[in-house]
C-alpha cells in the first residue's frame, strides 16, 4: 500500500507542478497589462504618450514589479532571437522588434535602427519649430508602430522643407533601413535554439514563493493573498459545510426509504418532485428569495442583505449565533435543495442496485432479513459509490458558489474570485485555482484510500487503473 501511495502522490505532485506552469503561462498572457494596471492614477495614466517616449517610463515601472527577468528556466526560440530578448518589456516595442527581426534576422541592426529612431525623436522633441516638431512627432509615431520596411522608407521621404533640419538623422535612418532591407534571415537561423537562464527567472521566483506558502500580494489592494483567502474561507466553509451536511443528512435516509418502497405512488411522486427541484436553477430561486426576504411586510423578516454585521449592531452579542445561522439560512437553502435532490436519487438507485445483487438474494434465502440485512449487507455496499463523491466534496467546500455569494452578498471565496477576476487581480485568482487543484488532488487520494479500506475486493492495482 505504501508504494502505491507514494506512486499516487508523486503523480499528483507532478500534475500540480504542470498546473502551476500552465497558470503562470496564463498569468503572463491575459489581456490587460500589469504595469499599466498598477500605475493608473487620477488621469488616464502615463502611457498614452509617444511610443518612443513611453518605453522609458514603462521599463522603470516594469523593474519595480520585477518583470525584467526571463520568464522561465529556459526558452526555445528561433536562433534569430538574442538571449536577452526578454529584457524588452514595452508591449508595442516587443511586437515591432519581433516583426523586424523575423524579416531581417539581424538583431544588432534592428537594435541600431531603434537607437537611431529614439535619438531622432529626442532631437525632434527639443526642436524649437513647432510645426516641424508636430509633423515629425506624428511621423515618428507612425514609423515606431510599423514594421513594414517599405512603408517606413516612404514615410521618411518628405518635402525638402521638412527634411532639411533633420537631414543627418534621416540619412542615418535611411542607411540603416537600406542595410536592413538587404538582410534576410539565414536558413539555419530558423532552427530553434535553447537559451538556459538558470534559476533567476520569474517562474522560479513565483513557484518557490508559492510552495513556501507565500501566495504573493494582490495587485488590487496590495494585501497578502493569503490574508484575503483566510478572511473569505470561513464564510464559504459555513455556507457550503452546512449545505453539504444538510443535503447528506436528508438524502441518505430519504433515499433508502424510497428504495425500500420503490413501487409505491409516494416514491413516484417524490421522485418527480425531486427531479423538478433539481432542475430549478439556484440563482433564480436565490433572487426570488432575496426580494421576498427583504421586502417589508413579507417573507423572512430575520434576513438582512448587509449581513450579520446588521445583527451585531442591532441584536447584541447574545443574539449573534442565532442570527448568524438565520442569516445563513437562505443561501444555505439555495445551495442545499438541488444537491439534496440529486443525492437522494443517487442513494436510492445505488441501494436498489445492491438489493438486486445475487449475494443479497443469497442472504435472503439464508434467512437474513429486515433491519439486519439492510444495515449489514446492503448499506455498506450501497455507500461505496458515495465515497467517490468525497473527492468532489472537499474542493467544493472551499470553492463555494459564485452566484449564491454574489446574490446574498456573502464575502466568501466565490465573491473573492469574481471580484479578483473583474479587477484583474491575477495573483489572487491563480492562488485560488492552485488551492482548488491541491484540494482536488487531496480529495482524490482520500477517496482512493477510503475505497481501498472499505472494500477489500478493490486491489491497489485495480484502483490505480481505475483512477488513471
Amino acid at each position: 500500500m505504501l508504494t502505491y501511495l507514494i506512486k499516487r502522490i508523486s503523480t499528483l505532485i507532478l500534475s500540480l507542478w504542470i498546473i502551476s506552469i500552465c497558470l503562470f503561462y496564463l498569468q503572463k498572457n491575459v489581456a490587460g497589462d500589469i504595469v499599466m494596471l498598477q500605475s493608473k492614477g487620477r488621469s488616464n495614466g502615463p502611457f498614452y504618450v509617444h511610443p518612443l517616449a513611453a518605453e522609458k517610463v514603462y521599463s522603470v515601472e516594469a523593474i519595480r514589479l520585477n518583470l525584467h527577468k526571463p520568464l522561465f528556466y529556459f526558452s526555445l526560440k528561433s536562433a534569430l532571437f538574442p538571449d536577452t530578448f526578454y529584457r524588452i518589456q514595452y508591449p508595442e516595442a516587443i511586437k515591432i522588434k519581433k516583426d523586424l527581426l523575423l524579416q531581417t534576422g539581424n538583431w544588432p541592426l534592428v537594435q541600431s535602427y531603434f537607437q537611431a529612431l529614439t535619438k531622432f525623436y529626442e532631437i525632434v522633441v527639443k526642436s524649437e519649430n513647432s510645426s516641424l516638431s508636430i509633423f515629425w512627432r506624428e511621423r515618428l509615431e507612425e514609423i515606431a508602430l510599423s514594421s513594414d520596411l517599405v512603408a517606413i522608407k516612404s514615410k521618411l521621404r518628405v518635402s525638402k522643407e521638412m527634411n532639411e533640419p533633420f537631414e543627418v538623422e534621416i540619412k542615418e535612418m535611411n542607411g540603416i533601413l537600406f542595410q536592413l532591407s538587404k538582410c534576410s534571415p539565414s536558413f539555419l537561423s530558423w532552427f530553434p535554439r535553447l537559451h538556459i537562464y538558470g534559476l533567476d527567472n520569474q517562474y522560479h521566483k513565483w513557484f518557490v514563493k508559492i510552495i513556501s506558502g507565500d501566495f504573493g500580494t494582490s495587485s488590487r489592494d496590495g494585501r497578502l493573498v493569503k490574508d484575503k483567502i483566510q478572511e473569505a474561507i470561513p464564510w464559504t466553509l459555513w455556507v457550503n459545510g452546512l449545505a453539504i451536511g444538510i443535503a447528506y443528512l436528508f438524502s441518505f435516509p430519504m433515499g433508502i426509504f424510497m428504495a425500500l418502497i420503490p413501487k409505491s405512488a409516494w416514491t413516484k411522486w417524490v421522485n418527480h418532485f425531486l427531479l423538478a427541484l433539481y432542475a430549478l436553477p439556484s440563482f433564480w430561486i436565490a433572487s426570488l428569495l432575496l426580494f421576498q426576504a427583504t421586502s417589508p411586510g413579507a417573507g423572512f423578516p430575520f434576513f438582512s442583505i448587509s449581513g450579520w454585521t446588521f445583527y451585531q449592531q442591532n441584536g447584541g452579542f447574545i443574539n449573534q449565533p442565532i442570527s448568524f445561522l438565520l442569516q445563513l439560512s437562505l443561501p444555505v437553502f439555495c445551495m442545499t435543495y438541488g444537491l439534496a435532490a440529486y443525492l437522494t436519487g443517487y442513494m436510492q438507485s445505488s441501494f436498489l442496485k445492491v438489493l438486486k445483487e445475487p449475494y443479497i438474494m443469497y442472504a435472503r434465502t439464508k434467512g437474513i432479513s429486515g433491519f439486519r440485512l439492510y444495515v449489514r449487507h446492503v448499506l455498506p455496499n450501497a455507500l461505496l459509490p458515495q465515497i467517490v463523491f468525497i473527492a468532489g466534496v472537499i474542493p467544493a467546500l472551499v470553492t463555494g458558489s459564485v452566484v449564491i455569494e454574489v446574490i446574498f452578498n456573502i464575502p466568501g471565496m466565490g465573491r473573492l474570485l469574481i471580484d479578483s477576476m473583474l479587477s484583474q487581480d491575477w495573483a489572487t485568482v491563480y492562488s485560488f485555482v492552485l488551492l482548488v487543484s491541491c484540494l482536488t488532488a487531496l480529495g482524490l487520494i482520500l477517496s482512493d484510500i477510503l475505497l481501498v479500506l472499505s472494500d477489500p475486493r478493490i486491489r491497489f492495482s485495480a484502483t490505480k487503473n481505475e483512477a488513471s
Binding site: 522603470v60 519595480r64 508602430l145 489592494d221 446588521f310
Partner: protein, 584 residues
Amino acid sequence: MKFFFLAPLAIVLLFLSSCERTEDKSIHKRTTNEVAIRLEAEPDRLNPLLSTISYARQVFDPLHLYLMNYDPTTLVLVPQLLKESPKIQFINSGEFEGGTKYSFEIREEAIWDDGKPVTALDYEATLKIVFNPFLPTLGYRTFLENIQSFEIDQLNPKKFTIILNDTYFAGLESLTNVVPVLPKHVFDPQNLLDKVSLLKLIKDPSPENQLKNYPFIKDFADNYMGEYFSRIPEGVNGSGPYQLVSWQAGQEILLQKKQSWWGDKLAVENPAFQAFPDKLLFKIIPDPVTALAALKNEEIDVMQNIAPEDFINLKSDSLTKAHFTFYTPSSLSSYYISLNTRLPVLSDKKVRRAFAHAIDVDELINSVFEGFGTRCATPLHPSSAEYNASLKPIEFSIEKAKKLLSEAGWSDSDKDGILDKKLDGKKTALTVKYLANASKASSMILAELIKSNAKKAGIDIVIDGKDANTLLEKLRSRDFEMISAGRSLTPQWSPSQNWRTDSDNRSGFGDEKTDSWIDEMEREPNQSKRFVISKKLQAKIYEEQPEIMLFCPQERLVIHKRFQAVSTAVWPGFYPLAFKLVTD
C-alpha cells in the same frame, strides 16, 4: 421530508404575500444620524496617494482635508486648510522668470488628532511621497512636476511659498486640490524625509539615481505600501472630520465623527467645514439587484448609479417613495464616439460630420438611458460657463449625411448599398469597424442603434465587441477605427491632456495652430480671455468632429428622506458630510 413538501407551497405563498404590504409607510426603519452608503466595489486602500479605485475616494475623502477644495454646490475652489486663497504673483525677472509664485498660509486652528499643528512641513513631506520613484503615484506627478521651488517660512512653519515654472491656469488646483495634506509625524516618525530634497526628486524621476542619493528611499516606499497606511485606523486618519473605526473585508467600512474636531468651531460660518452625520457607514454590495433589495429594505440610505429602468421602477414604487427622495443631477461626465482621423477613410471631416448626422442621439438617450441625458456639442459640460453654447448639437438627418458623403466623393458605384470611393487608386468601401464594450449591455445596444441608422446613409458599420481592457489597449496603440468611450469632466477644462498633438490624443486631432491655442489658453490667467480662446478651440473641435459628442448622462440617485440633502454635479452626485438629519 415534510419541509420539502412545503417548499413549493412556501414559494407560492411568498409570491402572494408580496402583493400585500401592511407596513406603516410613514415610519422609517432607520432613524439614526448615520448615513449608510452603498459602495459598488470594495476600496483597494484608504490611502489617497496609492488608491487606484475611484470608489475609495468616497471613503477616504472625509478623513482628510485639502489646502483648498471644491464647494459641492457652486463648484468654486474655496480654502479649506488654508487661511485664505493664496496670493498669486507672476514673476517677470530673475531665476524663475515666466513662472508663478503662490504664497500660502495654513489656518492656525488646524491640528492633527494628537494636537500637533498642521504645517507646511506636512505638505512638503506629502509631496515627497508623491515623487518617491518607488511608489505607483505616477498619475499625480504630472500635476505637480512644474514645481520649481518650495520654501517654508523660517519663523512660521504654517507659511510657505511655491513657485511653478509657468502661468498654467489650473496651477492653483494642482497645488491645492490634487493631494490632501497627510500627517508627516505618522508616516515618517524617524524624519527620514528631512534628508530628501523635494526638488531633486521632481527633477530626476529615475529610481536608480534616487536610490544612490537616498539609499533608504526604497524601504520607505515598501513600508508605505504596507497595510498600515492603507487599512489601519492610526495609519489612514488625517485632519478631516471623520476617523476610520473598522473595515470588515467585503462587508462594510465605518467612519465616525471625531468627538471634538477642531473644524467644528469654523463650521458655523464656513460650509467647507460642515460635517453633520455622526457616522458614515459604507456597505459593500457589488451586485445591483442585491443593492436594490437592500435599498427597499432601508438597509442603505444612499444609492447612486442606479440603472435607468430600475430608477423608473423605484420611482413608481409607493413604499420606496415613502422613504426616499429621488435626484437626477447632471453628472460631470460625457459619452462620445472617437474616430481615428489618421485613417484614410476617416481623414475627411465631411465624412466624420456625415457620421455625426447619421446617429440619432435623442433616440439613444431615450431608449438606452430612459431620457436621463443632456445633449452636448463639445467636450465640455453644457452647464459650464466655458461651454460654447453657440454650437448646436448636430441633428440626426440621413439626408444631410448622404449629401456630405457625396460631396466628399463617396458614391455607391457597385449598387451594393454601401458607398465606395477610390482611395490611393484602390476602390474602398465605406466600412468602419466599431469597437464596443461587450461586457456592457448598453454599449452593445448603442452600437446596434448606430449601425442600423448608418446603414441608411450607406455607411457599413461592423460591430466588434471586446472587453474593457482590450479596448483600452487598442486605444493606447491607436489600433481602432471607431470606438465608443466616456470621460469624466473636471470643473476646469484643461485641453492639453487630450487635445494637444503630443498628448493622449486618441483621435489624432490638431495641428500647430490648435496646439498654440491650447498653450495660450492654459497660460492665460484672465478667465474671460481664457474662455474666448477656449470657445474658439471648441468651435474648431466641433468643425473637425474627431469625436462625435453624444450626451452628458444624468446621475440616478436615491437618498433617504430623513436627511436633508443636496445633490451635486461632482461624482458620485452627493456630498454625505452635508446631510442634515431632519427632526420633526
